[in-house]
Amino acid sequence: MSNQKLYQYLLLLGDNSLILGHRLSELCGHGPSLETDIALTNMSLDLYGQVRSYFQYAAKIKGDNSTEDSVAFLRTEREYHNSILVEQENKDFAHVIVRQFFFDVYHNLLLDKLKSSKDEIIAAIAHKSIKESDYHLRFSSQWVRRLGGGTVISHEKTQAAVTHLYPFIHELVSPIPIEKEMQELGIGINPDDLRDEYFNQVQEVLNEVNLEYAELKERFARGKTGIHTEQLGYILGELQYMQRAYPNMQW
């Protein structure tokens, strides 16, 4: 296997955490209550921590003076491989929670499998990260239940978030070639294997509080290949500003 492939796969794993971590960090000081504000930023911190592990490894593989920072900050938009779901804007608390829930279910299933990756470093990151992501899932699934089963208004807003975000979740469990290749090598996971369990878990919670979702055909599966929505541009504008304006800066 070429190092280039492993590098690509690490970006694929890390970028979801990077971009979702950034979205959550935007809520610092803007959470609907002090407790949720702290929770969302703590989750952001966990995700950033995981990204650092992936990107330190990726930088080492890439060589030529790459660092975790250059991997995180100095790529162009099409070189980011996060799913479309995680770049969607915060809009309101219901959107934040539903997006988080959709991602957390996937993330836990993925990490659980990655624990047995033949790549020791990926396995170690998965063992570490799943302890954190399990906690995130508890938080987000509880909030989906609370908002969905709450007042008429909270239900309405949560329904709007589900209607908006549900179409994006197919991408999480739709494989791209690199994922299939990595699975054949025993390093990665073909997310198609997570599909049934993923939809079972998601739908169980949505059904419990009468949130409706449309069955859909596969689409929007392009973020992982680098084709993004308008949203990512704004994120990268903010994310990359410092490194572009002051190359190699540190704090």
Binding site: M43, D46, L47, E120
Partner: protein, 167 residues
């Protein structure tokens, strides 16, 4: 079996490492936290392995620098390496570490199954570090740092941090 504590022969190195603390929980030494995973001494050269409590723990960089500084002052040359496997668990906090946490006002981690009940089903099993009452409620699953949740005692009415159980 993962070792939770190991014996460092050199008393100077041992003592120095016990004096380095987690900047977010200053009463707790990094040895008590169980984040020092390995110490190899070769003359004046020391290789130390540490592991993070949480992936995003912002204290890790500071801790690595503090370890280097403390030992270099004693005339050693030091390499600190961050390792992820095996992943840290609250089981590695030493008994003396747990005692220090309690004295400092942070409730210590419970057994795993109990922890989940306490955090998610509202069962009252976390003990208030101030008045020892079990009449406590969780205010927030997430607290002031990644490793803590926020509780309140309904008897003495004091809020307190609870060190989340991680296994």
């Amino acid at each position: 079996m993962v070792k939770t504590l190991f014996y460092i022969e050199d008393p100077v190195i041992n003592q120095t490492l016990y004096e380095v603390s987690d900047p977010e929980i200053p009463v707790l030494s990094i040895m008590d936290m169980g984040i020092v995973r390995d110490v190899k001494v070769d003359g004046k050269k020391i290789d130390i392995k540490i592991t993070p409590t949480y992936s995003g723990c912002p204290a890790m960089d500071t801790i690595a620098v503090d370890i280097k500084k403390a030992l270099e002052e004693k005339g050693f040359s030091v390499d600190v390496e961050l390792v992820l496997a095996p992943a840290w668990t609250t089981d590695w906090i030493t008994p003396s570490g747990r005692k220090k946490l309690e004295d400092y006002g942070i409730a210590t981690p419970l057994e795993k199954s109990m922890d989940k009940r306490a955090l998610f089903d509202g069962e009252r099993i976390v003990k208030c570090p101030q008045c020892q009452s079990h009449n406590t409620i969780m205010v927030s699953q997430f607290g002031s740092t990644a490793c803590k949740a926020l509780f309140k005692c309904e008897d003495c009415l004091e809020p307190f941090d609870y060190f989340k159980c991680l296994k």
